[in-house]
């Protein structure tokens, strides 16, 4: 179960994956 009301683990996972991949993306490239 998610720790946040009304939020599924799947939804949290998609968001976390997306933002983490953005964090690891090299700055200043199109990669």
């Amino acid at each position: 179960e998610s720790t946040k009301p009304g939020v599924t683990q799947a939804s949290e996972g998609v968001l976390a994956n997306f933002f983490n991949s953005l964090l690891s993306k090299k700055t200043g490239t199109n990669a």
Partner: protein, 156 residues
Amino acid sequence: MENNSLCDSLLKWLETFPGREGIAIHHLTDGVAMANVLHQIAPEYFTQFWLTKIKPDVGDNWRLKVSNLRKVQQGIVDYYQEQLNQNIKHFPLPDLSKIGEHGDKMEMGQMLQLLLGCAVNCENKQQYIEAIMNMEERVQKVIMEAIQELMLRESS
């Protein structure tokens, strides 16, 4: 993407910047606050000298508002091209007259979307991305879609 939701969510995102609590569309139509946020995001590019080109206290003069907005928009386009090596020529640039004259929510949403792209790609992106990750999921989802839309258009 539903543009009311986009604008509302990106206004909430802007509120995560220090001193921007309670910010609303009418605070943004003269371009001054957006220019200051850009200076905060990438001070090495949006320098103090660049900021001096943005006229403060333009009041209700929509021509001066649009002039400021044009400088902000051009700065963003140049930043994508020169600093991020990203071409956004396929992204529809917002109609600045509609923002300056009427505070158009749809066009403002697109303008803030461009600003968001600067924040999540800049040298200090970690702090901005982490701030987004602490926002409510509903807003995070809209922001994620806004970034994906920018990225899709960058690569198209």
